[in-house]
Symmetry: C2
Subunit: 315 residues, 2 copies
């Protein structure tokens, strides 16, 4: 069986850990969001790809959900002593090594997809991890200001500003000119099912879908998504701030309707959102309710299995 | 008083610590060798500049003589896990931060002299530290092989091969096209005296002198050197292997004669080499013998003071 998953960061990585266990024989291809990528201190940082790679490779900081396990922060302190900016993005020492290696390979002329494959040779994540594109796409946030609008990199809004200033607009800058990375369209086309883990529908899944060709390829398949919203709140992160920017309510039903029946065939919501099954906005989408909190690996595996089962049922 | 010093790594850095104490009111400009510089893992490493900067700034690993104090090596282990090469050059975590910051500023388009000044704003070395050139100069070693000759970067010969394979030739590649960095010729011309610390006469002082314009500017001044050879052996490092490559004996007299009376006016040798004072090869050079082992700061300060006193005497 071939499964293709569009992935953001922490939510996707945990879902994938369950999926790998739910379908140990499946060939899983993960298409990772790169809109969050940022160059810091001259080094290329790919937060979502790394979160997936570290989580599936056994190198993640489990409590935090991102970054390396047993991490130290000496480089960061040194850079602060050199008055290097920015000081608001935390990179641990072991994590720095990944960015050094990635930047070295990129500077040697390798595309991000090849570099990601090289890094995964160490981590053996048990899935094929592809960046959505080898071309630069950067998620920018247009801040709603007092008469004046400012644009910041997504990471600056998310990490430095904690998304406290409302976003007037969220733009996947460069997406319209980006091409899917080698293997991306092929992996979608060859997939038996395509799954959306509980990732941010705007800045993770939405950004991947903004790369020309990907949305149409996905829409042609049996697609099931897992709601990242439980009981009106994001399980993690500040997806509500992103949804507000695109005028979508922070509810499982609204996010499912935002994807819409042209794109997804099935939608998993939490038990507490089971009323969504009768929501006319979700007409044409098969809605199932079950416990969606990924509290541990068995719970996550059950969610992944339910997602996969529904997708196979809808094929 | 204005003192200009041509500097290699460890020997120069320690000498400078003594000189700063011997002449606390002097304006000291240090012209550092950059021929040893190397790009590792995509980061620009300047071993000699950093050794001077760390030593005078209080951040050096005292036992080792190079690298940072209280260092750890997590990045290196991570890079090895990624199978990044080379694995023969040891860079500690705190040291990595310096190279990250330097590379970031270089990538922003700043010349090495400006980048060095930026790094020194943190370290406050108490001297003005200038790279010999902002242009790329790389010391290459032509290995004497079995019928065939191979060329390696100096660091590969020095660090990986421990200079065990004899060098047929040592070349300051790019030196002939390099221009002295801004301020270098001015600092030599404005100097009351120019000093050569006990640095490697071939790959440190020799490389600096190979940058067009520097040798002539130095030769016009009162110049005193300190022998890096005591009793027929280098005090530190493998200067003998370098001297052999240029056909110079490993002796205090031979090194003084190699510089020659056109370049240096005075030459300090160790007590055990005092016979050099009567060596006809050193005719035209004022030779003084004194204990030259920089065993601690008072001893080093005495050596620096003697060097400076002789230079002032010869002005």
């Amino acid at each position: 069986m071939r499964i293709t998953v569009l992935a953001g960061g922490v939510g996707a990585a945990r879902f994938l850990r369950g999926l790998r266990r739910a379908a140990p024989e499946a060939e899983i291809t993960v298409i990772g969001n790169t809109g969050d990528d940022i160059t810091l201190f001259g080094l290329r940082v790919c937060p979502d790809l790394d979160t997936v790679m570290y989580t599936l490779g056994g190198g993640i900081n489990e409590e935090q959900g991102w970054g390396r396990d047993a991490e130290t922060h000496r480089i960061r302190a040194e850079l602060a002593a050199y008055e290097a900016s920015p000081d608001w993005f935390t990179l641990g020492d072991k994590d720095f090594a990944t960015h050094i290696r990635r930047s070295q390979l990129l500077a040697d002329g390798q595309p991000l997809s090849a570099v990601t494959a090289a890094l995964c040779r160490r981590w053996q994540p048990g899935v094929r991890l592809l960046p959505m594109s080898d071309d630069p796409v950067e998620t920018h946030v247009v801040l709603a200001g007092s008469g004046e609008e400012h644009v910041v990199h997504f990471q600056e809004w998310w990490v430095r500003m904690h998304a406290a200033t409302p976003a007037a607009q969220i733009v996947a800058s460069g997406a319209e000119r980006a091409r899917p990375a080698p293997g991306v369209l092929e992996a979608i086309e060859a997939a038996d099912v395509v799954l959306f883990p509980p990732s941010n529908p705007v800045v993770s899944i939405g950004t991947i879908l903004a790369v020309p060709g990907i949305r149409a390829a996905v829409a042609a398949k049996a697609v099931v998504g897992v709601s990242p919203i439980i009981g009106g709140s994001p399980v993690r992160g500040m997806a509500d701030a992103c949804l507000a920017a695109i005028g979508v309510d922070t509810s499982a039903a609204a996010v499912g309707a935002h994807y819409g029946p042209e794109l997804i065939d099935g939608w998993l919501v939490d038990d507490q959102d089971k009323a969504a099954a009768d929501d006319p906005a979700l007409a044409g989408i098969e809605v199932r309710a079950l416990p969606l909190l990924m509290r541990d690996l068995p719970a996550t595996t059950a969610i992944a299995r339910a997602t996969l089962d529904l997708a196979l049922e809808l094929t």
